[in-house]
Assembly symmetry: C2
Homo-oligomer: 372 residues x 2
């Protein structure tokens, strides 16, 4: 082709997409999903105060958002009891991961993650020419000790750990991560993805000082706060690292209504508590549905439950396909042996009723195919 | 500092911000602005149908947006009469410029723009290690012939041209740009920023095929469509280049309500026509206010009017400071000799009345300081 040449790095990148959205599948099926249980969205929804704030902001959408995200940043600082200089706000954790990788990773730099952990992180690492090294899960848990040992072995600049974990729903005590950090190489930054932390038991947080230079924590309004479509995430780290985001971020990238909505959501902790209770109930409900069908629900500290289908990845994929064909959007882990599972997002009763209604048929179909 | 090391490129970047937001100035002043005329926002606002769509989407904000932006992309394709494969949607033109530069510019690659043109483009070029070469404005117009000649001279990968231009409001006939393109080097991509095109006279568009490999056009919902805070921009280019954005973009980066709002805004062309008329009236009004005060309004094909204050940059800055001190947010060009001007965004009558009321005092103050 004549015309512009991509950089050698860009040329080498595949045009892969980390995730296929449910709308793409709906268009392919020619029908909408009746239950949206695949992306760990939170169908209990955001605080009514957040909805009101976004509605109010809609008439002022002709104004750019505040590029400093001042009000939300200050409120988050108060909420977490940390200096505002330790907080960066961005277009979801996905956007912030992109900025972080750009700041720290150049061609050939080593990065460590778990085999089967968050694909969008891997997408960014590849996108800046980093070299990914993986360690296996230990049981259904990410393995901090092995991750940090691998980081030392390969001289990693970044190591990724989600606590609680996606896609398995498992978690570690914050104390265990704190202890493992002693073995983190001095040149390695821990990317601690806490997207699901509001769904986890007490003690899951690390309780390290915000300015600990060994790690950056990421949080989001997409999960427990029920605002995935708003794209508001934030990072907590030492001021030097937080300030570096200003070198590369899209300063005017935040949606103004999303800024207002996230602030209102943060200020309605009663609603968060209500949603946390709904999530706990939904987890029990999903677990019961799984057991009724002979599947094994894994313990979860998230707003989803991962169900062990008891066979291999092909069988789990058949179960998933059967659910999708019946209008139930679900996803599953990408890597073996986690891909023996399917992953079900917590949702209000009507959606879980649909799961309960259709799972037996999906399973029967998958079992028939397995035997056939 | 111990802890993570930035890449050498990131280390070398200043923590500059392309623009200081009005909210930052309001916090510094300890008072809000009474008129917001500095960021070329569109106070006539978005279509009521867009507001309704965003309001409706607020209750569904728990869902991620469609990562393919399918509905908006298809609607834009129909609107422009181009294949959907020629359109990429992103987090404002700013976000798309970042992706484009990332795809095409590596350390040391040459890029050409006008001295005093869009700083955010320059920010991205620096951010990926590109080397910026500038040519002066010709009168108050960007100079396509000189830009493309400089691109040939330095072997540029990208050359930036805004038509209509910001910050001067000037424009070229599309035919003139088409003619100049014959001299564009074969390895150079023209970045044609058409953020203000809906405010321009017939004939300002280039009317080149969407798949012309020599250029990418950028459009936005931030200006004439009145949705700056939503962050919705798009690019039109050859399918090969458009597809490359999928290698690096934040696939789930679009706000779901913004997607819905932009679609509704596009479908309300009557509202756009109404706003275009309001903008034309406001331009005349700003020009009249300027003349009443002995300033020279420059011709404008945008939703702002650049006022020649008739002296140097220091004088224009004094006028600007006088307006800001009186609660009127305005900005001015960064580079000489354009910085003899201040730039006033079109706005509803009450804001322009405030301008009319306070400009005489701001000017008197600036003149007194000049003589003192």
């Amino acid at each position: 082709m004549t015309g512009p040449r991509l950089t050698p790095l860009a040329q080498s990148l595949p045009a892969t997409v980390p995730f296929v959205g449910p709308e793409t599948q709906e268009r392919a099926r020619g029908a909408g999903f009746a239950a949206r249980l695949g992306a760990n969205e939170n169908g209990f929804g955001p605080s009514p105060r957040a909805i009101a704030a976004m509605t109010e902001a809609a008439v002022e959408i002709w104004k750019y958002g505040d590029p400093e995200n001042h009000d939300l940043r200050q409120a988050l600082a108060r909420h977490h009891g940390v200096p505002a200089e330790c907080i960066v706000i961005g277009e979801g954790i996905d956007g912030l991961l992109g900025y972080l990788v750009r700041l720290l990773i150049g061609p050939g730099d080593a990065v460590v993650t778990s085999d089967g952990a968050y694909p969008t992180f891997n997408y960014h690492v590849a996108g800046f020419g980093g070299v990914l090294h993986t360690v296996p899960y230990c049981g259904d848990h990410e393995d901090p000790v092995a991750l940090f040992a691998k980081a030392a072995e390969v001289g990693a600049r970044l190591v990724y750990l989600a606590n609680p974990d996606n896609p398995m729903g498992s978690w570690h005590d914050g104390a265990a991560i704190r202890a493992a950090l002693d073995a983190l190489p001095p040149d390695t930054l821990l990317v601690l993805d806490e997207a699901y932390i509001e769904c986890a038991p007490q003690g899951t947080q690390t309780d390290l000082p915000a300015d600990d230079p060994r790690l950056i924590r990421f949080r989001t309004f997409s999960k427990a706060y029920g605002m995935a479509g708003a794209r508001v995430g934030y990072g907590i780290a030492a001021p030097e690292l937080i300030a570096a985001f200003n070198k590369v971020r899209n300063h005017f990238g935040m949606n103004r209504a999303a800024q207002a909505g996230a602030l209102a959501a943060l200020q309605d902790q009663d609603w968060l508590a209500h949603v946390q209770a709904c999530i706990a109930t939904a987890r029990d409900c999903i677990a019961a549905i799984a057991r009724d069908n002979g599947l094994t629900p894994l313990p979860s500290a998230t707003n989803f439950v991962t169900l062990d289908c008891g066979a291999d990845g092909a069988f789990a994929k058949a179960v998933l396909d059967g659910l999708v064909a019946r209008g139930i959007f679900v996803r599953m882990p990408f890597a073996a042996p986690q891909n023996r599972c399917i992953r079900i997002s917590c949702a209000p009763e009507p959606e879980l009723d649909l799961l309960a209604r259709h799972l037996p048929d999906a399973l029967a179909e998958a079992r028939a195919a397995q035997q056939g």
